[in-house]
Subunit: 405 residues, 2 copies
């Protein structure tokens, strides 16, 4: 199969627009259905979706029948050589001069589903700006950054069952919040978003096996946008000493398209400067971040925006740390980067930081906001800008509905 | 099918011994294999295992073919009416005068497996003695019990992939521990056990759905012994502010037999006295604990022993709280009770408490111990004592091997 040289174009014209999230260079994987097609695996290109199951039926691709599954887990488990082979094959089929009979579905006629069965979900805390800003609000400036923060990627296990795909409405949670005389039963009054990137683990590790940062990088299949909805008042009351629990089980929204490591490779870059050397098991032999704009909107208005290169720990470092005690990892594990925030208020990835704990309201379409109100829609976006194209993630959207009484 | 009156006996004589963990009144579910039989579902009775898959093949039981699976999840998902029907049917088959052709396998010829595919694992912190004792060691007596502790069951999400069945060896973990000048890379020097009971969730709940304590109780299939191995030095360095992570991903050992709620029902009792009223969503309409001896051994020597009735929050209360923000629960979710400790040192369920953070060594078979050393075997046991019989859990054992360098 001939390799196509960059910059390369697709015979699907929408894919060649500079502002299209899904050019030939991207080819993100997802799961779709239509009125006539049950959920199955696909790849986004321009304004279309490649029907991978049908491609395989017609002998255009070989993935052992895994593309007819309603999640990508079985395909991902086939391993990196297969990921690369399918990507190269799709590039050939979809490039100018490729196969114009490749089976496609119009994206606007398709429903997008959770791309993976989330095996387990771990959320990290790897933006130094965010960790410091939030630390000040929860514990004051002198205790803001925990002493181990610059030595290890701090993370906690989240709840996989509450991960949903973009477009899923979320009810405002009820719960315990702190009152003057003990806890109150209340709807959350400080509901927030968290702007994150999620890494999808693409290979298993064995119990007792410690994974190096290099091995960890080889184990990551790709990335999604991730909004870790957070009930800040519930969190403040519940989180000591064992960490956030119900405040973070409200829902976690991910984008339907998994952008592969291969697509992001041209944008590899270094992250934030190290405050101190890391222990050898966390040291990276090459830069582990991507030069990528990432931001969020509220009711369509642009709010915080920054770059993924502000982060302190890469997904590969997080994955390596995740196995340090021998914890086994599995295909479909989802690792949240932690909220991505730049240094200034307009670069923050959560309202808690942007409004300084609700003290400084922001204006959204002429209305004042400290936290999220019922009916508000939060959208996340990210893209890396190449020469005449961009690698985008598509939208990651969620709307907050009133609490169920 | 006629109901057998208590006290009732089995035609399998070993089941009628007063010190047998598995009398006719128990009938715990598990997964076994032999040299000739691939892993499938079974029920323990005396010194034998009922081959449930073969029972179904012969028309003795009806469970939709789920007993031929290598985990109980599919059977459990059939629901409480089916659990009760199968229990009643097995009672009839195995009672004196029942069917002596019921297919059995000798337990000593069988290998026992993880009884469920653990969907997600949550660990709670529901013994007030334990919470206070450990709080003193980590934060001093004035901050020992967190202010919300008497108002909600504090819990955190653990790592399902690291749950293993009794008999699985565990390597001492490596990790970061606090040194005088930053962290050290070290094998864990304060490795501990946690004596717990694990509840198996037997029904799904929907996203956004809050489960009452009464509904939660109906959703619990049964209980296992659970040892949540804990690396205390790694925990002390990592756990603020997001909770324990790698210190608790070393491994969690559960017993192979799931003792059903039905078997424990005669031992229902109240737990520890309430310090303050609970919010309505956590209030129970009847006692939620079991009068049950629970303890642990080290290298065969009896160490701590107490009663499950010392606990402050029941599994049903924990499950109800788990859904308060709308978090969906799923069949196969495992909820650890938290370490079960009585008030005195010889009633504690962890070495951290028993040795007061390593200050007061204990003697085990003539040797001094503060924490677990390489080669040490920890065993858990629990039983409820009835009239002429006991409902036991069988052993839950794990041995610590040296760290992998």
């Amino acid at each position: 199969m001939p390799m196509v040289e960059q910059p390369y174009r697709s015979w699907i014209s929408a894919a060649n627009r500079e502002d299209c999230d899904f050019p030939l260079q991207n080819l993100p994987f997802g799961v779709f259905s239509t009125r006539d097609i049950a959920p199955r695996c696909g790849v986004a290109i321009g304004d279309m979706i490649v029907d991978l199951a049908l491609c395989e039926e017609r002998g255009l691709l070989d993935a052992g029948g895994t593309f007819s599954q309603p999640q990508l887990n079985d395909f991902i488990a086939l391993g990196r050589a297969k990921w690369d082979e399918v990507r190269a094959r799709l590039t050939g089929l979809l490039a100018e001069g490729g196969d114009e009979n490749t089976p496609l579905v119009a994206m606007n006629a398709a429903t997008l589903h959770l791309p993976i069965r989330v095996t387990e979900f771990t959320d990290f805390y790897a933006s130094k700006n965010h960790a410091f800003n939030v630390g000040v609000l929860f514990r004051g400036p002198e205790n803001a950054l925990p002493p181990q923060w610059t030595h290890m990627p701090i993370g906690y296990n989240g709840r996989a069952s509450s991960v949903v795909v973009s477009g899923t409405d979320i009810h405002r949670p009820m719960g315990q919040v702190k009152g003057d005389n003990g806890p109150l039963w209340s709807a959350c009054r400080r509901l927030d978003l968290e702007l994150e990137l999620g890494a999808i683990v693409g290979a298993d590790s064995k119990m007792g096996q410690r994974i190096s940062v290099e091995q960890a990088e080889q184990m990551i299949f790709g990335y999604v946008l991730l909004n870790d909805w957070s009930a800040r008042d519930i969190q403040a009351w519940e989180y000591q000493p064992l960490g956030p629990f119900q405040s973070k089980a409200v829902g976690t929204t991910i984008s339907p398209w998994i952008v592969t490591q291969a697509a992001l490779e041209p944008f590899r870059c270094k992250g934030a400067d190290r405050v101190n050397p890391l222990l050898p098991y966390l040291q990276e032999s090459r830069p582990g971040f991507y030069d990528m704009t990432i931001g969020w909107t509220m009711n369509g208005q642009r709010m915080g925006q920054t770059n993924y290169n502000v982060m302190y720990y890469s997904s590969a470092q997080q994955l390596a740390h995740h196995t340090v005690s021998g914890c086994p990892m599995r295909v479909g594990d989802l690792l949240g980067s932690g909220t991505i925030s730049g240094a200034s208020s307009e670069q923050t990835g959560a309202l808690l930081e942007m409004t300084q704990g609700g003290k400084n309201p922001v204006t959204v379409n002429g209305e004042s906001r400290t936290f999220i109100e019922d009916g508000d829609e939060i959208g996340l976006y990210a893209y890396a800008t190449g020469d005449g194209y961009r690698i985008g993630f598509g939208p990651c959207i969620g709307t907050i509905l009133p609490a169920l009484k």
